[in-house]
Symmetry: C2
Subunit: 221 residues, 2 copies
């Protein structure tokens, strides 16, 4: 936006880099990584694409730094506070879902990029593999700590529950991006998280009795 007449070299560079990273988030969110041209990112920050490459070396490297940036900012948002433990982690997840409704850009970038990352030799793949593994573990730990607190034996379904919680949050984002009027991102996230946690922590009656469905798979191979 505003022109900066570099007072200090080092500081200005950092600002420019962050500006580029945010522009890249926008473009990758709007068009995906492979189809988000460097030119479009460049013109958002008043530069040529060669300038971007000067800063980041390659498009792949730019993607990796875009992904790292969000993590850095998310941690910054916690403002030195501890990583949430126990029930606090689930509250944090729900808060995040509510906050996400106000920043569709980043939500879209993550939704698009995480799915794109499963394609052949995608440079973001290792990042997302690691990210999901870490988040699942954090959720399992939170569940475990709740069980200890409440004197429950830890169920063997915590892994399933952890994966399901992340899955529902991601999946809801896609539906929300497609039909924002039909899907309430945060409400549904809160509902589902509570449902899955309830099931994991205190397995009660099974209103659907889906057990029989497990046995027979659909015909098509």
């Amino acid at each position: 936006m505003t022109e900066r007449r570099a007072p200090r070299a080092r500081a200005t560079t950092l600002v420019k880099r962050t500006e580029i990273l945010h522009a890249a988030t926008t473009t990758f969110g709007a068009k995906g990584f492979k189809n988000g041209p460097l030119t479009e990112i460049a013109e958002q920050v008043g530069m040529t694409h060669a300038g971007i490459l000067h800063h980041f070396g390659s498009k792949d490297q730019l993607l990796l730094e875009v992904l790292k940036l969000r993590d850095a900012e998310d941690v910054a948002d916690l403002e030195g506070a501890h990583i949430p433990e126990g029930v606090e982690l689930f509250r944090h997840l729900v808060r995040t879902a509510f906050a996400n409704e106000a920043r569709p850009g980043i939500v879209q970038a993550y939704a698009v990029l995480s799915a794109e990352s499963v394609t052949d030799d995608h440079p973001g793949r290792p990042y997302f593999e690691e990210r999901y593994r870490t988040l699942r573990q954090e959720i399992v730990d939170a569940f475990t700590s709740i069980c200890v607190e409440r004197g429950l034996t830890t169920p063997h379904t915590l892994g399933l529950a952890a994966a399901s919680i992340l899955a529902v949050m991601d999946g809801l984002q896609v539906q929300w991006l497609l039909t924002p009027d039909d899907v309430q991102l945060a409400e549904a996230s809160a509902f589902a998280i509570e449902a899955i946690a309830a099931r994991a922590l205190s397995p009660q009656e099974l209103p659907l009795d889906l057990g029989s469905a497990r046995a027979s798979a659909a015909p098509r191979a």
Copy 2:
């Protein structure tokens, strides 16, 4: 795989078209729509890319027919049986999850394409919007029919539950594709569906009490 020296024109054409559609599913699944080149699809069926264009007119059109094909095949799998109603629909969803573990190609195609469809002017977008709307409605109807059957008043959370169920199935697919060893696609799907349905149909105690998290959203705008 095997070369076909067309014996009959009309019948062969249909076969060829379906063969192309399956090849396209593979390529779009592996590389996405925008980055899945027609050439790659063409060589899978022993053709040049111009041959594909001869059959489908444009790449966009090919995508739409790829998406329609799966619906057609899924319906065919039901073999003239009714669209599942009530509890049967949920059993069908779980069966599908188990069946999907055996066909990672199609799973990946849908995971990649549905997320890609939220990008700017994506030709698959209307299809996915409609698809999710329809599926959500089917699930809501199934819930409603269960409520009627059991003499329950229909909760106002059925919409949230329906979106959540679809979300968890989609989200688990992405995690499963990224780390197949860590995530059990079908088990987790069954677990989550049961959890969400339980919560929607018989809201019991809330072990997490996440209500307070709704009020305060995270700082970042």
